[in-house]
């Protein structure tokens, strides 16, 4: 008994020493800053030297909620998130399904999918911006040669078109991620269930909807949650393709926060915005951790 307790104490001590460096780093560069941001969000804080910060309580949050720009931005962010993640899921599932049916070249396709996923986001954005170029872009060149358009179109000058083209670039980058996750999940599914259903006379569509899709649910959920969090706070790809333009037409919530903080110098207000993004993300993280920790429960 005596010896057992000392062992447990020894374990706790070793654990403490092993975790300590990581804990200190995380406390210093994540927890302290997020608390600091929360604190700043309660002030009328401006960027600049010797600017006096004035405590305003929740006024920054109240001002945001009363600001039509905030709501338009939320709407735009929702559009970006729902459309890109929705299409990514459908296309990702389709490609996973395609790979799973092992047609000629499926291994090459699976390997190829790694490329868009691995290309850095900024390179991806620059590449698409060049493809969308109004005067020399490949999109115009291709569509003209195919006879779909009769003259070059300045794609990125209309807000809604620009938004959809940013989404296309995001889709190119992220569909492979979903497809790779789902095809790996498909490969682990038991074949006998579907065989049995087939024997019982279930059609291919029925087998897909009633057996395969429910079995894939945990993998789909993980992919969905991860992508939703990422799309909701998308910044890099918008920054490089449209710079938030035209006419603020592609400014999403992260981009607005960036503008408030670094273009307008509204540190307090920007902090409030960024804290709202964190809250949303943490809510999603909560779901994420639950899903990952007990996948069998979600079946």
């Amino acid at each position: 008994m005596q010896r057992k307790r000392t062992l447990a104490q020894q374990d706790a001590l070793v654990a403490f020493l092993l975790i300590l460096p990581s804990l200190l780093i995380i406390l210093g560069i994540s927890l302290q800053p997020i608390v600091s941001t929360l604190y700043l969000s309660l002030f009328e804080a401006q960027r600049g030297i010797n600017v006096q910060n004035v405590f305003v309580g929740l006024a920054n949050y109240a001002a945001l909620l009363n600001d039509p720009v905030f709501w338009v931005t939320i709407q735009r962010t929702m559009y970006f998130t729902v459309v890109s993640v929705g299409l990514e899921l459908v296309l990702g599932l389709a490609i996973a399904q395609l790979i799973h049916s092992h047609p000629p070249g499926w291994q090459f396709l699976r390997t190829s999918l790694i490329i868009p996923w691995a290309v850095p986001t900024i390179v991806n954005g620059t590449m698409w911006r060049w493809i969308y170029n109004a005067d020399y872009g490949a999109l115009n060149g291709l569509l003209l040669q195919l006879g779909i358009i009769d003259k070059y179109i300045p794609w990125l000058t209309k807000p809604n078109v620009a938004m959809n083209l940013v989404i296309l670039a995001d889709i190119w980058h992220s569909v492979p991620f979903i497809a790779l996750i789902l095809q790996a999940a498909l490969a682990t599914l038991p074949a006998d269930l579907e065989e049995a259903a087939s024997v019982d006379g279930a059609t291919a569509v029925q087998r897909f909807l009633l057996i395969r899709l429910p079995l894939l649910r945990p993998a789909i959920l993980v992919a969905l949650i991860v992508r939703t969090v990422e799309a909701f706070r998308a910044f890099d790809i918008i920054y490089v393709i449209t710079n938030g333009g035209p006419a603020y037409g592609t400014v999403t919530i992260s981009y607005l926060t960036y503008l408030e903080m670094f273009s307008f110098g509204h540190i307090g207000r920007g902090s409030a915005l960024s804290f709202l993004i964190s809250l949303f993300t943490l809510a999603m993280a909560f779901v994420y951790i639950r899903v990952l920790y007990r996948p069998e429960e979600t079946l």
């Binding site: 975790i19 990581s22 780093i25 047609p103 396709l109 490949a138 993004i277 964190s278």
Partner: protein
């Protein structure tokens, strides 16, 4: 007959998917080896008549006369490599130690520590950036590779802990018990038994951490101002905004920035797929 039709249809879809994957990349690469006049011609030159590697030579083997763009890419590629490797190394060392303790040792608040660490992984960079910026200027680290290494650990370290946890959990406890019966203490067990069999986990974790650090843009955009610390994504983004003329040079920078992550991912393909399934996530 029906079977042949099915194969033809599926092959068509594979081809379509491959086109979707390769069309943009091919155009990126072609643009990087095209001459300026060919890039700016209408109708578009899909296949360059005078392919040139001059853009690559300018960046990789600079001479006195090489352009600003090429010089910047050369330096910032180096910065990216330095920052991403340092982050990977630090995150692997501290992350795997912490992860082992969190998975295998029993101590008070174990579960809540684990959840807390995972939670910090989800905090968006934009919520941390102002305090980190103030910190950087106060301690004189603004515009240094060091501040990037420090700030990147905010996502890299929890990420590494999370990934390594999945690997440590898959190692049978009996192995450790056997080692302890043979007289190893906890640290010896970790060093002699656990680490060697976790090397696939370390490789995979290192890969994901490296890729996410190489990809990082926002902290680098805010916390650096000159080529002494700028990373390659920041350089590319800046040129995209400014130099419309040297498209070839920019695309070459893009190709060079994409080569390390793409090559690494292709070489360690099987780790990527298993890592993604384990909940590893880099966009």
């Amino acid at each position: 007959m029906k079977k042949t039709l099915r194969v033809i249809l599926l092959s068509g879809l594979v081809l379509l998917a491959l086109l979707f994957v390769y069309f943009p990349v091919a155009w990126l690469v072609i643009s990087s080896i095209s001459t300026r006049s060919e890039l700016l011609s209408t109708p578009i030159h899909w296949i360059p008549q005078h392919p040139t590697f001059q853009n690559y030579i300018n960046i990789l083997l600079p001479t006195q006369g090489t352009s600003e763009v090429a010089k910047t890419f050369r330096i910032t590629l180096g910065n990216s490599l330095l920052v991403a490797s340092s982050v990977t190394l630090i995150a692997l060392v501290f992350g795997s130690l912490a992860s082992y303790a969190l998975v295998r040792l029993r101590f008070p608040f174990r579960q809540s520590t684990m959840l807390g660490i995972l939670g910090t992984r989800m905090i968006p960079e934009i919520s941390l950036v102002i305090p980190l910026y103030l910190f950087a200027t106060r301690v004189g680290l603004f515009n240094s590779p060091a501040i990037l290494v420090i700030t990147y650990l905010s996502f890299a370290l929890p990420f590494a802990i999370w990934l390594m946890a999945a690997f440590f959990e898959s190692i049978p406890v009996e192995l450790e018990d056997a080692a302890r019966i043979d007289g190893c203490n906890r640290l010896e067990t970790l060093w002699r038994i656990i680490m060697p069999i976790s090397s696939p986990g370390l490789v995979s974790t290192g890969l994901f951490v490296f890729l996410s650090a190489w990809d990082e843009f926002f902290f680098a955009l805010i916390l650096t101002s000159t080529v002494s610390a700028k990373t390659v994504p920041v350089a590319i983004a800046e040129f995209t905004g400014r130099y419309v003329v040297d498209v070839g040079g920019m695309m070459t920078g893009g190709v060079l920035a994409a080569i390390p992550p793409v090559l690494l991912s292709l070489i360690f393909q099987r780790y990527i797929v298993s890592g993604l399934t384990a909940g590893a996530v880099k966009g």
